[in-house]
């Protein structure tokens, strides 16, 4: 855990005392992320004061760790040249992320304050589609001409190191900016001083394209254990790199999105407590409505069998159990398969493997549930006939097999049809298996009890 030797009260006291020297020392000594959290607690006047007295190198970094609302309020108050001072020291990808979230008048103010070069880079980053590799890459990295010697390369790295997010990997290009190779800092350090980069560099490089989905980048970085991955455009020109810190954020967002979709919630970006109730309601309503209407099918099956229910009212006792068990069994299978699709690349090729696997799992689970249900009805529910116990138990067994197969295979079919498997998950599967379970139940009743 991080040290906690500096607190908000102290910071507030230093600001109140207008002790500029001391304030600067604080920022040199303590972690900027912790300080940013404290700055967010300050009044806006105090925060502006902090930004005015801090040196450039710290104000930029501090700014990048503030929440969007704080950033917005600060930009409103600060002057053009002050903004330029802060933004000069931001990495372009952070800057583009931030510009993307701001309202229009703020964006105009920002674009006016940055240098022409930065403006060009921001506009390039903003032009990539959301969730593409282009949209999360950074343009601050080390690129080296492949014809340099190792010694010359070290000089070039020295020049580029201040603006680069990381120097752990450097990328080699030809005159046309085409990506030809990569080298880790370690390999450069150990390479003979006079050799040319193109003779010692790694040529079998893993890279992604600007238009690839960001998940593709995560997948490659995870597979190859990379901390950085280069991004090229259609003509193989190197345009940026994606670093692991961006990937962590993407990974978390994607996970949240998948989890939400599985529960029938449309993706929502802000944290729960910061999203207003109306927005949350709108993200949940569509599926609630769809599922309310689709549940009518199960209702219709019940209505169609009203006569049987009137004749044998005890049958209705088992209806909730059958429906719930089917739903749970289906979502267990779909959750595992959907996660398998994301993590282990399950796909159509595995269709029959999954079918066979889920079939065996369902049989085993089904037999156990069959027995437990039989025994507990015989022991504890004396008013239920043996035949009725048998019918309800047999239904569970059959329903379990159907539910697990639907739950396991529907996500795979979804990927095949290029639909999002998570969206098709539990809620929809529930509706299907509910209908199946009631149909099976009444069919067996008619066959065995009447």
């Amino acid at each position: 855990m991080e040290q906690k030797d500096f607190n908000f009260e102290e910071l507030a006291r230093i600001i109140e005392g207008k002790n500029i020297q001391h304030l600067r020392e604080v920022f040199e000594e303590h972690n900027i992320v912790d300080l940013a959290l404290m700055v967010e607690e300050l009044s806006i006047e105090e925060a502006v004061y902090v930004f005015r007295v801090l040196t450039k190198e710290y104000s930029g970094e501090l700014f990048s760790y503030l929440s969007l609302e704080h950033q917005e309020r600060l930009i409103e108050i600060l002057t053009g040249s002050e903004i330029k001072g802060i933004l000069d020291n931001l990495y372009t990808d952070d800057l583009a992320d931030f510009v993307e979230e701001m309202p229009e008048e703020i964006v105009t103010k920002i674009l006016k304050s940055v240098s022409a070069q930065q403006r060009k880079e921001i506009n390039m980053l903003l032009s990539y589609k959301e969730n593409s590799c282009g949209s999360i890459m950074t343009t601050n990295y080390v690129k080296l001409d492949e014809n340099l010697t190792v010694t010359q390369a070290m000089e070039a790295i020295k020049k580029q190191r201040e603006i680069a997010e990381s120097i752990s990997y450097c990328y080699m290009i030809d005159q046309k900016n085409k990506l030809h190779g990569a080298m880790s800092m370690r390999d450069i350090l150990f390479a003979p001083k006079n050799s040319l980069l193109k003779d010692v560099m790694e040529e079998d490089i893993i890279y992604v394209k600007t238009t690839d989905d960001q998940e593709e980048a995560i997948h490659e970085m995870q597979k190859y254990d990379f901390s950085m991955i280069p991004v090229v455009d259609e003509s193989q020109k190197l345009v940026g790199v994606i670093t692991s810190d961006d990937v962590l954020d993407v990974l978390e967002d994607e996970a949240t999105e998948d989890i939400h979709k599985m529960a029938g919630i449309n993706p929502i970006e802000e944290p729960y407590l910061k999203t207003n109730s109306f927005k949350i309601a709108m993200s949940r309503l569509p599926w609630l409505l769809i599922l309310m209407l689709s549940a009518t099918i199960s209702g219709a099956i019940l209505t169609a069998n009203e006569d049987i229910l009137m004749m044998l009212p005890a049958l209705s006792i088992f209806v909730p159990m059958l429906m719930d068990t089917a739903g749970n069994a289906g979502s267990q299978a779909s959750a595992m398969v959907i996660r398998g699709i994301v993590v282990d690349n399950l796909g159509m090729k595995d269709f029959f493997k999954i079918l066979y696997k889920e079939f065996r799992i369902a049989l085993l689970c089904g037999v156990v549930l069959f027995l437990v249900n039989m025994i507990r009805i015989i022991l504890f529910m004396s008013d239920i006939s043996f035949m009725m116990a048998f019918v309800s138990s047999l239904t569970i067994l059959i329903v379990l097999v159907c539910a697990k197969l639907v739950g396991g295979l529907l996500p795979i079919l979804a990927t095949y049809l290029k639909l999002d498997p998570a969206v098709l998950a539990s809620p929809l599967i529930n509706t299907i298996v509910d209908g199946v379970s009631l149909t099976v139940y009444f069919a067996l009743v008619k066959l065995l009890l009447l």
Partner: protein, 450 residues
């Protein structure tokens, strides 16, 4: 992702048949080790044994790291002790521990008895940490500098230790008693005067974790501070290892999988879907299926208790699936968002009332929309009377409110009793909301219809 030309099984088979080991070694220079391992996984075991013999030591160790667990196991059983020892000497120690943990105990024994005394000691040290702690995922291969070093000493040390270290981009500086006193990035060292003192250049405000911190805590810290490496210290503040971001990616993915499984009533299971045996999967799914089957009987019992009411108005039965389904969905939507909020944004008991009011607002809004849509569609598409339509819709409204509040607050309450919120998620909430729904439904029906 595109690769220039892919390595294929045929290419490997070809060089082995021709015994062209020079070409094989060239393949290992040229192609990415992860891709090579993927292809070689399919090869017969005696081929792999030959490859391990003829490849460079470093290449064969790398190859071994990326092979599937079952192939590794077979290899260990085939290789001689001296071969195993040589292999172990060239493995990264965290990779080695990961692999030993995967192996059955008889194979682990073979490995440990073949290992050199030093290696055995390292393995045992790493294996001694509790599962899921920072200690269990750390690596001891990092660059360690002394506070009295000069820049020249440091560069020499980096060159000496750098060959085996996981990363050289961050070096850690310790006191004579091995206490962690600071860190320094490679790019800060490389271009300094060779007799400058390291002690003057280091960043003393270093973020670190302790060996017994939970790995999720480590993931959170790495994410919060946007760092790629975090040092790990023991209780005496002595540096024992580092954790790199690639290990954290795996941790995050495992945690998300576990959460998704738990939310869908699947007990945590190690290993991927395809690798787990049918029996293992059954074991992870069966407990909740049984519990929920039994608990759904209470719901059945409620229906049985109101048999008379149902006999008078059989049409009431047809709405039961819709009411139960909607309640379950509404509840799991709320619980999913709150559970994700707990793990991502640190929601906790302190937010109890905020969550309560938020869910209440969301539920009132969703409930009202569902109430209107439901009343209209019953009146337009069915023969049911207005009275019945109102009973069903009012029940629906209350169901949504109850389910959302239970779904939102139950995860917070489980934190209070130190239980895992994901484990009590949707299935339990479904059962609670089912029961409450039916009680409201029948009581409303009795009051309004008689």
């Amino acid at each position: 992702m595109i690769k220039i030309d892919e390595i294929t099984y045929e290419m490997i088979a070809d060089v082995l048949n021709k015994k062209d080991y020079k070409m094989l070694r060239e393949y290992f220079e040229e192609y990415n080790i992860v891709d090579l391992a993927e292809v070689i996984n399919e090869a017969p075991i005696d081929w792999i044994v030959v490859m391990m013999k003829v490849l460079k030591k470093k290449s064969s160790a790398d190859l071994f790291t990326y092979l599937d667990a079952d192939v590794q196991e077979k290899l260990i059983q085939t290789l001689t002790s001296p071969q195993i020892r040589e292999l172990l000497d060239n493995l990264m120690d965290d990779d080695m521990v990961d692999f030993i943990e995967e192996m059955p105990s008889n194979v682990a024994k073979i490995v440990l008895s073949a290992a050199s005394a030093q290696t055995r000691q390292d393995i045992n040290f790493l294996l001694s940490f509790k599962e899921n702690t920072a200690g269990s995922i750390l690596t001891t291969e990092y660059v360690e500098l002394n506070e009295t070093d000069t820049v020249m000493d440091a560069i020499d040390k980096i060159k000496a230790q750098g060959k085996v270290a996981e990363t050289i981009n961050h070096c850690y500086v310790v006191s004579s008693k091995r206490r962690l006193i600071g860190e320094i990035a490679l790019k800060e060292i490389l271009f300094e005067d060779s007799d400058a003192k390291i002690a003057d250049l280091i960043d003393e405000d270093v973020v670190y974790v302790k060996t017994d911190d939970d790995q999720e805590e480590v993931a959170r810290i790495i994410q919060k501070y946007d760092i790629t490496v975090v040092p790990v210290v023991n209780d005496d503040h002595c540096l024992v290892g580092i954790i790199t971001v690639d290990d954290i990616l795996d941790v995050m993915e495992e945690e998300v999988t576990e959460d998704i499984h738990k939310m869908n009533a699947v007990a945590p299971i190690e290993g991927s879907y395809m690798e787990s045996s049918v029996l293992e999967i059954v074991k992870s799914r069966l407990p909740w299926l049984l519990i929920l089957m039994i608990s759904a009987t209470f719901t059945g019992g409620i229906i049985a208790g109101f048999e008379d009411a149902l006999a008078v108005s059989p049409i009431l039965t047809s709405f039961i699936p819709m009411l139960m389904g909607s309640g379950g969905n509404a509840g799991s939507q709320a619980s999913t968002m709150v559970i994700r909020g707990i793990s991502v944004d640190g929601l906790g008991m302190k937010d109890f009332f905020k969550v309560f009011f938020k869910e209440l607002q969301v539920a009132c809004f969703c409930g009202a929309v569902l109430l209107i849509v439901n009343t209209l569609r019953i009146l337009i598409f069915t023969q049911a009377r207005l009275q019945v339509a109102l009973i069903v819709s009012i029940t629906l409204f209350f169901t949504i409110i109850v389910s959302k509040i239970v779904g939102g607050l139950l995860p917070l309450l489980t934190l209070l009793i130190k239980q895992d919120p994901a484990a009590v998620a949707s299935p339990v909430i479904t059962t609670i909301s089912d029961a409450l729904t039916l009680v409201i439904y029948f009581n409303l029906a009795i009051t309004l219809l008689h």
